[in-house]
Symmetry: C2
Subunit: 118 residues, 2 copies
DNA sequence: CTGTATCCAAACCGATACTG
DNA sequence: CAGTATCGGTTTGGATACAG
């Protein structure tokens, strides 16, 4: 098959909602993790797979493609003998990092108190 | 049917990852919105439906139940003549707010930067 | 090494109808 | 008012195999 024809169905979102707007960039189970690991510097496909062991190649590939399409990350093919590809955050992608940092810090606090909620 | 038996299958997550840990609380398209609107104070079921017009009763109900089960929100039945129910953030839920705030503020900057929407 | 194709299971969502 | 039941459709994600 040449190219999957996108359905372009209206997404179930609140119009003009910044929260939904931003979540659409982070949508998908592993997307925040990908951005998070990329925030430490450029990474290759295989490195990201090692960073996030539970992710499948298919999903990682899909997330990467979507993030590139949205302008969150950049994809650069390195002309090495075994061809390698480097992904890195764009300026737009860097803007997402503080939000993810906030999520991580909440997650850490959640784990520390993990025993208590009703 | 009496009670849906939960499958309790191991979720596709990285163990001990604070980011995934926190994202599991926010899973589902409308969850962040629910928490966000609740951060303004306690709300009733119908009020939340009005806040998020595109959400269906079924999904709102499901999200609410899950958030209660996870300890993010509290559910209190008010003994009024037409019975009403109030939902509010727990202490754990309040901890999520800064993260969502960060996401919202990124979303706002994203919109200003693109400036492509009416 | 860097992906894509295919199959399949689960989660998600909306509309409608119905209960307490 | 505050949900739940059910049906149907869409989306997501994982496993495996395979291609450039």
């Amino acid at each position: 098959m040449a190219l999957k024809l996108r359905k372009t169905k209206a997404p179930p979102q609140i119009p003009h909602c910044p929260l939904t707007e931003c979540m659409s960039l982070l949508g998908g189970a592993w997307t925040p993790n990908v951005v998070w690991y990329l925030s430490g510097g450029p990474r290759r496909f295989g490195e990201l797979r090692a960073d996030i062991p539970a992710i499948s190649a298919k999903v990682l590939s899909a997330r990467l493609r979507r993030l590139v399409a949205k302008g969150v990350i950049a994809r650069e093919v390195m002309p090495t003998s075994p061809p390698s590809v480097e992904y890195s955050l764009t300026v737009l992608g860097e803007e997402l990092v503080p939000a993810i940092k906030a999520i991580v810090s909440v997650g850490e606090r959640l784990k520390r108190r993990h025993a208590t909620y009703p």
